[in-house]
Symmetry: C2
């Protein structure tokens, strides 16, 4: 299921190579199929959306838009303890993300010059929510709440109908909790296209966020520039740093919590203790028996799981920074001292009582995180992701005059005489 | 050269269509050629870079890296008044962007929970600077200074050698001013590939920024995800809002200052005054005669220039928001009252003495701006563009216990029992 290897050795190097190329690239067939869907929806709107829904989902929902009374009706059918947990999670997510909000600012100068930056929410955002077993209410909260805090005026959700042509009530409960404005029962690349171009019933948005299958991801990638998109999420991953004070039962449970996501997920333990390594492997075998997604866990641990022995925590931290994991747990004696050492990770979980699922569902920070080593340069989804900025410049005649010669010199050096002329005419 | 049309009319609608599809898409041939270059550099490093440099630039520079003494030597050969203007511009850019810097934060709670966000600069960034007539020192400042403020540890610049195998001294002066750490005389898609993958001499970076021709832009697009990139810049554009108090001579000069960039550039005047419209057209004919890039200006105004009459300023503002221009000038009696009305624009220039070239070169806000209507959702290049964030979560046993049931409920509702198990083992 998983092997214990030494960092720096050949097997560890092979593992890193396997880990790195794990992302699934869309083949040419998927690319071409998606291009065709996008073109059809662009030119034929709702008619094309309906045709693809019939083709891919097998049935048309009674009504494409779920109105508010319907949402409320369906949400009432949910388990009350689920609804209560959802409310608490939403409050935590709201509290954390409220700290991220940036404000417009201006810098007025004594000579009359005023410059600054206007920061405002995007006008309209689309949120894709997968159907079937990947319909996660937590994802609705994580994508929608930062958008609301950013001041997005309208949040539009699309989600494929179930096999019975009906929506998933848990998803609608999350949509209500998160303040989604409109919900459409449409899925796949056709839903993404409808959001990007607008149709007779589905409004055109400025940005599309949310996870989806390879068709959804490819549609988003192809439409980037027509609309903004969030990251293209790769398979999930967790890396756990453990010193000799860590608890093998916790480590094993946390590794499997990510391994269960899908067969491409990766779970890596870096530890300085051979004993911790061996006991964690034993715990994996022990705990997996009770888990409903045992087969998926076995396969992902087989392919992308590793327990790697490091000489010391410095080596482990440096290796973790090289891998730049989506989730990073620090199970060490003084976990806080690692915050400033971990340069590349989406979300960092410190200590023995901060398991990754706490962050997935509840604590407040976002669970939409950079995968596949992109934490080297990408950041978690945040309020920033839903803001746009414009700078503004106001100069007076008196302020422009003394700097005119400098501006003209720079323009002329670049050979742009019409730029210089625009300053010259104002003298 | 340019026509006066009425907003809402057929000609104006045709113009909008032409304006929107102006972006140059790379053909399949360019795409395939770039893919080949990227693969070659990935697998053969410097050897491939040298071969392509010989093939495309016609000669190999004496040394690929320009060291600091060489940079200083070359900068000394520049016009002193250019160097002085460059220093002043750099100081303004630094002052404006310093306001954008975000700080790491944490939120400690009474129950021992600590959560927060670490914000730090990217480790290493690559800056592409075109050669030939598009070698703009101002671009070096605008791309490099925000990166330095963000705390980027190493800034690597690549730029193609001139026909004599030598670098452009003005570019090197700007590189010194902006604090670039290393400079390599390499251009084209091979330079972009070298930055993304690293070679024996050129270090691998985390993000690539800077303008370039269609090969450079295509290379950046293909490498997105391997590294981060800035926007893919489309042709430049300016939209001027003018009421009856505007000065036709200024308007004409400002329209041409963008029209001179290239044959795809667009310049649009929206005005409420027929007299202002007519006089601006006369000014265009009068002023163009003295401009060195007259031919380019004529062609871009012919194809993508327009003077559009609006019934009132509200209509003009609403049309401007629809077009979402890169640069927007407000030449109106009370320009400040427009700041809060302009939702979609990269940079806004207020009043009769804030011409667009003031922002291009000198005032301080960035000149790397969203083009082709993407100001609907994209923002100017900023310090943010060079930061990455990680969230962190620290919970205690006492803080985890009371929320465990909620977390497990959410995990179980999503069918993720290994997530629930990671909380369960800690009870």
């Amino acid at each position: 299921m998983i092997q214990v290897v030494r960092q720096g050795g050949e097997v560890a190097r092979d593992f890193v190579k396997r880990f790195r190329v794990r992302s699934e690239a869309a083949g040419k067939k998927v690319d071409a199929a998606v291009t065709e869907i996008l073109e059809a929806v662009k030119h034929h709107g709702d008619e094309a959306v309906r045709a693809y829904t019939l083709q891919f989902d097998g049935a048309l929902p009674e009504s494409v838009e779920i109105d508010r009374p319907q949402m409320e009706q369906l949400a009432k059918s949910c388990d009350p303890s689920f609804l209560s947990a959802l409310q608490k999670a939403a409050a935590n997510i709201e509290n954390f993300h409220a700290r991220q909000k940036q404000q417009s600012w201006l810098e007025p100068r004594a000579d009359g010059v005023i410059m600054g930056q206007r920061i405002r929410g995007l006008h309209r955002v689309g949120l894709y929510v997968p159907g079937g077993t990947a319909a996660y209410p937590s994802s609705v909260l994580m994508n929608a709440i930062p958008a609301k805090i950013a001041g997005v005026e309208e949040l539009v959700m699309v989600t494929p109908p179930g096999k019975d042509g009906r929506p998933n009530p848990n998803i609608l409960a999350a949509a209500l909790t998160a303040g989604i404005d409109r919900v459409f029962l449409v899925g796949g690349a056709q839903a993404v296209a409808a959001l990007a171009y607008g149709t007779e019933t589905i409004p055109k948005v400025d940005k599309i966020v949310g996870p989806g299958n390879i068709y959804v991801a490819t549609a988003k990638r192809q439409l980037y520039g027509i609309v903004d998109i969030d990251m293209i999420a790769g398979p999930s991953e967790i890396l756990v740093l453990a010193d000799e004070t860590a608890k093998p039962a916790y480590l094993a449970a946390d590794l499997m919590s990510q391994a269960e996501h899908d067969r491409m997920a990766s779970a890596i333990l870096l530890t300085t203790s051979e004993q911790i390594a061996d006991e964690t492997v034993k715990e994996l075998y022990r705990q997996i028996e009770a888990l409903s997604r045992k087969e998926i866990i076995e396969e992902s641990l087989d392919r992308f799981g590793a327990v790697i022995l490091c000489d010391n925590m410095e080596e482990a931290v440096s290796f973790a920074n090289e891998l730049a994991p989506e989730h990073l747990e620090v199970c060490a004696e003084n976990p806080m001292e690692y915050i400033g050492k971990i340069d590349n990770a989406g979300s960092v979980f410190l200590g023995n009582f901060s398991p990754e699922p706490l962050g997935d569902y509840f604590a407040g920070p976002n669970h939409v995180l950079p995968t596949s080593g992109t934490a080297r340069f990408f950041s978690p989804l945040s309020v920033d992701s839903f803001l746009k900025k414009s700078s503004f410049i106001y100069y007076t005649k008196e302020a422009l005059q003394p700097v005119s010669a400098d501006i003209m010199k720079l323009a002329e050096t670049e050979g742009l005489t019409a730029h210089a002329n625009s300053i010259q005419v104002r003298q």
